[in-house]
Symmetry: C2
């Protein structure tokens, strides 16, 4: 029997609810496939701040690094919003990504036929959308030095951040993107701002140079402002998108909203080796926390990505994906994706239904 | 009789067509209001590159600086896309903005009832959208130093740009935004990434500090990734948005696509004093250039913004805005906004119709 160590980081808000449901689904899908999991639950984010005063305790980072894969709920909440920067839940997440060296963030944005009405886009525009955004996750302006707030020669405050990419950082994320596109519909769109930014000029140059190694992938380039438009105008034109950390942050959220169901969308963050980090793309939703209203499907689908991308257990992953579709086909809906004619359920009951469908 | 000097920069692609139409409209609206214009047409962008080898000739910059207002068509085209960075049309635009010190870029995104069907958003989501994006235009990562592509200690290429804002740069754009919101529905949303970027932390601090001087304006803050989502989820929540150069570039294009008619949207770029720069937000559309297919309304409405924000001639501006609505109400549509039941016209004919309606 194969055994895997899974670090569970429930975090804040609805995090604990959705993690507890996803854990059960992961366990059963694994069991059916002859896999066993040892789960280690660790404090993280605001929960860790309250407990030990830092958002990413040493022990949590170590447990994550020593695991086979990390499943994360959500972090953040009003409570810690006024904290100083280094004492905010978000900093814990940024440091965890860095510690795990997960440079490639894979964010699918898919419109399921069952949920096409949830999009604010017209049906004919939204239906059939199926793209993967590959976002660079541990470089660029998120981490570049120098950074900070200083005083200039006029005695005035100045805020500074540095957008910086070295060739190898671009190459490794581009390779993940080419490989991803190759397994999908073979189209890769690299998004940059090469008409203004030097970092983007290098980005475009490196991505273009790699294209010859992937002759089966059709590469195109698009400026980020145009990409923000095209995602709304005609989202079906996109298969795989690759972009830097900050553009990826913005565009992947935009793309997820196009699907209309961010309660459904998972993500995977992967490094060259070592454990990957898997989390729903939605936030901690403090206003509905603890009320059994959260949609656990994004976290359940993140568990599927964990199996597929993190452990290479594609069959078990497929079981979960199918079970989620089955529960949706039976008409079960949490509040965020509810439409008349379906059955409104809470977080736990949705979890039960997926378990039944497994 | 009041006389004004207007610098006309037709630029590339459809630029010359739309400028020639907008010039006539501006002239007639002025005439009806007792204003006279001296137009000086100057080479700019790719056209200037072909003519004299630089995208912003000295004479063009001087003429712009000495004018009372600048009306610009559009720049860029495939032809110059492979030029080195400093020999690209876009660089001319960035330098012109800098030379004119127009730090405040006002970009309205309005869904006209006549054109609500042009949006890819559902009618109930798109209708009634009426927002103004105030984008900082001559600072931040667009101009920050250090920048460039260098070789690091491993002999590897590294691309660098610097996001940098001094307190006074934030204050002056924030003031424009507060004043703008005050004249609109009194709601200002400042967009940043203060959970990650130091430059955004300073941005939020300065904007917040100014709020007490504008007690009639309701200030809120939003992260840029969330803003990219909210623009799609519920765009009507926004009145005035203020943000930095790069976020403004992305979000204003996203917002314009939400309206579904970027051929309709004007912009104004203003400094503390001196001439403003007025231009349609659409690009040079090389594929339809010279075919009399372009929609001149964005440039015509930019001429209206020129009258209102550039010269303080609000009545003449209103004449143009009303004439545009009248032409639309009569059913005239260029190809980009055409829907069955209306009258398809070209660029020139649309101009004639607006002239008739004046
Ligand atoms: C919480 C925040 C630091 C984070 C980011 O900007 O990366 C989030 O928006 C995300 O996209 O995962
Ligand atoms: C052409 C380009 C340099 C420009 C910008 O990025 O500012 C354009 O996208 C705009 O928004 O006016």
């Amino acid at each position: 029997k194969k055994r895997y160590n899974i670090a569970l980081l429930p975090g804040d808000g609805i995090g604990p609810e959705v993690i507890s449901v996803a854990k059960n689904v992961l366990q059963k899908a694994g069991f059916l496939q002859g896999l066993e999991f040892d789960f280690q639950e660790m404090p993280f984010g605001g929960a860790a701040l309250d407990l030990v005063g830092v958002p990413l305790p040493e022990e949590t980072s170590t447990a994550a690094k020593q695991s086979d894969a990390v499943l994360l709920g959500a972090i953040g909440g009003y409570k810690w919003d006024k904290n100083e920067k280094h004492l905010r839940p978000e900093m814990g997440l940024l440091h965890l990504r860095r510690d795990l060296k997960v440079f490639a963030n894979l964010r699918p944005a898919t419109v399921l036929p069952q949920l096409v009405d949830a999009s604010t886009l017209k049906k004919e525009v939204a239906q059939g959308v199926d793209m993967m955004i590959v976002r660079e996750l541990i470089g660029g302006i998120y981490f570049g030095e120098p950074r900070g707030i200083t005083i200039n020669e006029n005695g005035e405050e100045v805020g500074v951040n540095t957008e910086i990419y070295a060739a190898h950082e671009i190459d490794r994320i581009a390779r993940v993107a080419f490989e991803t596109a190759r397994k999908r519909r073979g189209k890769l769109c690299s998004v940059d701002k090469a008409n203004v930014l030097d970092a983007s000029i290098l980005w475009r140059k490196r991505v273009t140079a790699l294209a010859s190694e992937y002759p089966d992938v059709e590469l195109s380039h698009m400026y980020v402002d145009n990409a923000a438009m095209q995602l709304i105008r005609y989202p079906k034109q996109f298969d795989t998108i690759v972009t830097n950390n900050i553009f990826g942050d913005i565009l992947s959220d935009e793309a997820s909203m196009i699907t209309g169901s961010i309660g459904m969308l998972p993500s995977a963050s992967l490094g060259a080796s070592g454990p990957g980090l898997f989390e729903p793309i939605h936030g901690s939703a403090p206003d509905i926390a603890g009320q059994d209203k959260a949609n656990p499907l994004a976290t359940i689908l993140s568990a599927a990505m964990l199996l597929k991308y993190g452990l290479g257990e594609e069959t078990a992953a497929k079981r979960i994906e199918d079970a989620v579709l089955d529960a949706l086909n039976k008409g079960f809906r949490t509040g965020d994706i509810y439409s008349p004619g379906n059955k409104l359920v809470g977080c736990k009951e949705m979890g039960e239904e997926v378990l039944k469908s497994l």
